[in-house]
Symmetry: C2
Subunit: 210 residues, 2 copies
């Protein structure tokens, strides 16, 4: 009698089928863009029966979403592991997060390109946006005291910072990564975080750079 298993590894056939479908979708997105793909295209490419497809996913969108989630669960775990180092200041930690993102992007370039660069619908962007909003939020809240003097309200500054980060990722991908991940992180920090520094130094009427 089968025990109530919390989360058992799925059947080997299931893994195979799902992987085939995910890969088929990604390659098709890269070739023709998400919108014009049909379920038929996907199962043809994956060599999978029609009924099998619907046994695993509700529709095309469901397949995309589950793929994105799988990708990002991995990323979040990596970040969680990396951030056990609490010795970092909040600015260092957001820099670290940014660098992680750019490196992760570089490592999974073809995948990110499929999911991000227009062709992937908005779902991927929405999902990653959600993730980084959390991270950026933590950072901004940690600096909240010194930000009260700043006129741009937090509710605007938060999506602003997140958006800028993602805009940089998309730009970077679409231009075939002409700068290094470190340089991109540098740009990100300059554009969005210098702001705080310069504002603060203005407040205190003196330079506070060490």
């Amino acid at each position: 009698m089968p025990e109530i298993k919390d989360k058992k590894e799925p059947d080997r056939r299931v893994r195979r089928t799902q992987q085939l479908l995910q890969e088929a979708l990604v390659s098709l997105i890269l070739e023709q863009g998400y919108d014009s793909i049909t379920v038929q295209d996907i199962i043809d490419r994956a060599n999978v029966g029609r009924s099998t497809f619907y046994a695993h996913y509700l529709d095309k969108e469901d397949l995309l979403l589950k793929g994105i989630d799988r990708l990002f669960r991995g990323f979040e775990e990596q970040q969680l592991a990396a951030n056990k180092d609490f010795s970092l200041s909040s600015i260092e930690s957001i820099e670290r997060m940014s660098l992680d993102l750019f490196q992760h992007t570089q490592n999974h370039q073809h995948l990110f390109k499929a999911l991000f660069s227009k062709r992937g619908g908005d779902y991927a962007a929405k999902r990653i946006h959600q993730h980084f909003t959390k991270v950026v939020e933590q950072f901004l809240q940690a600096r909240l005291p010194e930000m009260l003097a700043i006129t741009v309200p937090l509710e605007i500054r938060l999506p602003y910072v997140t958006h800028t980060l993602l805009m940089l990722v998309v730009w970077w991908l679409e231009h075939d990564t002409p700068y290094s991940a470190e340089e991109m992180t540098g740009f990100f920090v300059q554009l969005t975080l210098n702001q705080e520094r310069s504002s603060r130094s203005f407040e205190q009427n003196g330079a506070t750079y060490t």
Copy 2:
């Protein structure tokens, strides 16, 4: 005998049909989002024959694009007229442009909401992005000399500024315009343009605020 008329006003019936279809699309977008709308929905709402729809537009997307273009032609003309005043500095002119955008957005709120706030697919965002890229580009190029000292390259700074402006518009709409158009312009200037000021003052190792 019909002369070769450069651009004659179209038949009254044509105007009526096209207006009905455009309005139907916008109202449907606001109700259920762009993606799930079918041509049938549109012609039902507009009370227009199926064949009539296809006589005017290739498909749903074509209808959306032509609507957006119509909207923005008006906006560009307004801007062109307003910008005949050459007495403005480049910073004043971009502030003016930003204010125009926020006010225009406020005046056509329901329309912009339909086209922008997610529900409207990416086409609207793409189109307006294209327009403001041009404007921002002019501004940035005018300030090019003083920007050579800045490390974030122009090719990144341009989409960055444009993106920030549009992000603010979308945020503003989705939060039901809690700030005035003037305040939003203020935030925009602070986030993206102060950057230049503070960087420059840092370069020169002294405050240059008057």
